[in-house]
């Protein structure tokens, strides 16, 4: 039988027992909807996590250090000096070279230092870090009470929540930091001033440097000489961050953030300065680390390789993204399995419907065989009916799944809004899922039709014609 004749007959047969076939098709739709809903949730959550992680700046960042830096600390078993190729200094020319690498958005020095901050006559010791202007889109700084820095050199500061709690003397017991809303901290702190006490590195005049070199009797590495001057800087509190943007630094994580340019201009004494002066690297200060932001997390590995070729060490948490992808792959698999359960039940419905159809249409099958239908014609007809139900069920199911997702998303966002949290999209139905779900429903239906179709094809026409 020709395909269009087969399709026409199959659709006609489906229309004849419309109630039963509609119920079976609804069963498939519910199965597909459950599958789509489950997988969409998995995909949506993965996207949400990826989006947040991307915004956190953790996954598209490569931290670059000089090889010599790493050899310096507690590595007694390793030689304390590196070969010329391995000992490039991580200074401004090196930073610019890294910034010119393909897929690198920016490379900025990591300015961080421990210092004292005074607020209302009380002094607090903490780690301060300079952050680039590009961090304004970072998750930690979007939607915060207050604002991001007004300019790259503005004497302004953003506080991490834990430091804000400390300033207000509200330190909650460990594990209960989240109980205090960040907005409560913003009210008394925003617009207030902090005084930062810091040690500024000031290059010594050339003559003084020469004298120093002469008295020490050392070689002429006079340009490493500098003075350290105690300074104060007034800083206006412009924002409070609820998140911990510097968490990847572990113990060295900062709780107070300045504009990077301002931090650089302040020329705050860095731990690396002491080493520089011992090694006499030159007039240009070197950086202990440089943070490199890449265009896409996918480019991290390639950029890391390129930087290593330049003679630096790199670190990224690419492995963490791999683990995350693995986690979501497993989650999607489990959600898919649970979603498929309903489809499996629906497939039993197809078998039932078609077996019932065979019983009902036994005589009709006998007639068709008597007037020339072959076994394969009958088999194809039942297959086509199963396939049509699967296809229709798949299409309706995808729409239903999409609608369920939409409704749940809407409901969740209403709840989030009531909790004063920003809206999120937990649901994502990509086109490949739409196509795959319909094809899957079609295949499941065809497989379900295997037994009924074979049974119908095997019917003895003489017996079938006797059937009333």
């Amino acid at each position: 039988m020709k395909t269009y004749d087969l399709s026409e007959l199959a659709l006609r047969n489906l229309r004849e027992s419309s109630l039963r076939n509609s119920l079976t098709t609804i069963g498939i739709s519910v199965g597909v909807a459950s599958l789509v809903a489950m997988l969409s949730l998995g995909i949506g959550l993965q996207k949400l996590a990826t989006r947040h992680l991307a915004k956190s700046g953790l996954f598209d960042t490569v931290v670059v250090t000089s090889r010599r830096e790493l050899r310096g600390f507690n590595r007694e078993d390793q030689p304390s000096t590196a070969s010329a190729a391995e000992s490039r200094t991580l200074d401004e020319p090196a930073r610019q070279e890294i910034e010119r690498l393909p897929n690198v958005l920016e490379a900025y020095p990591d300015i961080r230092f421990i210092t004292e901050l005074s607020y209302q006559d009380k002094t607090h010791l903490t780690m301060v870090s300079g952050i680039p202007d590009s961090a304004r889109s970072n998750d930690a700084f979007t939607g915060i009470p207050g604002s991001f820095f007004s300019s790259e050199t503005a004497p302004e500061v953003i506080l991490q929540k834990s430091f804000a709690l400390e300033l207000l003397g509200k330190t909650p017991p460990p594990g209960h930091e989240d109980d205090v809303p960040v907005s409560d901290l913003a009210k008394p702190l925003l617009g207030k001033e902090l005084t930062m006490h810091y040690a500024q590195r000031v290059s010594a005049p050339e003559s003084a440097a020469e004298n120093t070199a002469a008295t020490s009797g050392a070689s002429t590495e006079s340009d490493a000489a500098y003075s350290v001057v105690s300074r104060e800087q007034k800083l206006k509190i412009v924002g409070i961050s609820d998140l911990d943007p510097d968490s990847m630094r572990g113990a060295a994580r900062a709780r107070v953030f300045l504009p990077l340019k301002l931090a650089q201009d302040l020329r705050v004494m860095q731990p690396s300065d002491v080493r520089d002066s011992m090694r006499g690297f030159g007039k240009q200060p070197s950086y202990s680390t440089v943070s490199v932001r890449v265009r896409n997390p996918k480019n991290v590995e390639e950029v890391e390789q390129a930087i290593k070729k330049l003679g630096f060490n790199t670190f990224s948490i690419l492995d963490a993204t791999r683990s995350l992808r693995q986690f979501f792959a497993v989650l999607d698999l489990f959600l898919g399995i649970f979603g498929s359960l309903a489809l499996a039940v629906a497939s039993i419905g197809i078998v039932n419907t078609l077996v019932m159809a065979i019983l009902e249409r036994r005589r009709e099958i006998g007639i068709m065989k008597a007037i020339g239908a072959s076994d394969s014609d009958v088999k194809k007809l039942f297959f086509a009916e199963a396939g049509a139900m699967g296809l229709l069920g798949g299409v309706v199911g995808v729409m239903l799944g999409w609608a369920i997702g939409h409704v749940i998303n809407l409901g969740t966002n209403i709840y989030l809004r009531r909790q004063a949290l920003p809206p999120e999209s937990f649901w994502s139905v990509p086109w490949w899922l739409v196509g795959a779900a319909i094809i899957f429903a079609f295949i499941v239906s065809l497989v379900s039709g295997l037994y009924p179709a074979a049974r119908a094809a095997r019917l003895d026409p003489v017996q079938a014609l006797r059937y009333e």
Binding site: I367, M368, K369, A370, G372, S376, L465
Partner: protein
């Protein structure tokens, strides 16, 4: 076991006698059907069809041998359970023999695969049943069109052929009606149109008037006779009405308990045909 050859075939008789079977009378002259070509349309050799019913073996067809020439109009007579419908099903290729051969168009149906048997039913035979056997969910046009679909005929051609077939049986005005909306006679006419649609050489009719009143039955039989005479179609009709067979068939074969007990030409019909031809 009883085997009878309808034709004076020495070879068959010899074969049957060799197997120690009784040969019934063949003294009657061979009927001369209209447009008979002389070539056998159906040749049945020592055909048996036994059914197992629990522990009992039911011989529905038991050692039947006969030949039907092309263009013949043969009536298979017998009481209920005599095996006439079983024999018809074997000729139609709806059933397979337990032993023996059914040779239609030089092909032994017993040797054909299921697909080949389906092709035989599609191309070579047309069937009409007592209970019409139209698909109740389809219109008349769709019912008549169905064999053409199986034969993979193009839609445009199908429409023309269907209309032509229904016109031939006077049902062109009822094409879009469902079988339940028609009288028994109309349904049987539609079944005839469906049987004709693939232009088969052999029309097998199983009690075609069994569910009809005498007037409608006559109407149907006239159609069947017309197909035999004008199209040269070989007709094998199962009936238990002797009068009907005597009125239309040119040869009557009597079955009892699955055996062929009599095979004779219907001289009255043959004579009237000859008169008509003259």
């Amino acid at each position: 076991m009883c085997c009878v050859s309808s034709r004076d075939s020495a070879r068959h008789r010899g074969h049957e006698e060799h197997r120690g079977k009784t040969s019934l009378s063949m003294t009657l002259p061979v009927s001369q059907p209209n447009r008979q070509t002389g070539a056998p349309a159906v040749r049945i050799v020592d055909l048996c069809r036994h059914y197992q019913m629990g522990e009992a073996l039911i011989p529905a067809v038991d050692g039947v041998s006969l030949q039907i020439q092309s263009g013949e109009f043969v009536a298979l007579l017998g009481s209920s359970g005599s095996g006439k419908s079983s024999l018809l099903n074997l000729i139609a290729g709806l059933d397979r023999p337990t032993s023996g051969a059914v040779i239609v168009e030089d092909r032994d149906l017993a040797q054909l695969s299921r697909e080949e048997l389906a092709k035989h039913r599609l191309r070579t035979v047309g069937m009409v049943f007592q209970s019409f056997n139209l698909v109740s969910r389809m219109t008349l046009a769709e019912n008549v069109d169905l064999p053409l679909r199986f034969a993979e005929v193009d839609r445009s051609q199908r429409q023309a052929l269907t209309r032509q077939a229904l016109e031939r049986v006077g049902l062109s005005a009822r094409m879009s009606h469902r079988p339940s909306e028609l009288s028994g006679g109309e349904q049987q006419r539609a079944a005839l149109a469906r049987a004709l649609i693939n232009q088969p050489k052999l029309l097998l009719a199983d009690e075609p008037t069994g569910n009809l009143d005498s007037h409608t039955g006559t109407e149907i039989m006239n159609f069947i006779r017309e197909f035999n005479q004008s199209l040269g179609m070989t007709i094998v009709m199962v009936t238990h009405e002797r009068a009907l067979a005597e009125r239309y068939a040119r040869r009557m074969i009597l079955l009892a308990d699955g055996k062929l007990v009599d095979d004779r030409p219907n001289s009255a019909v043959s004579a009237s045909l000859q008169e008509e031809q003259q």
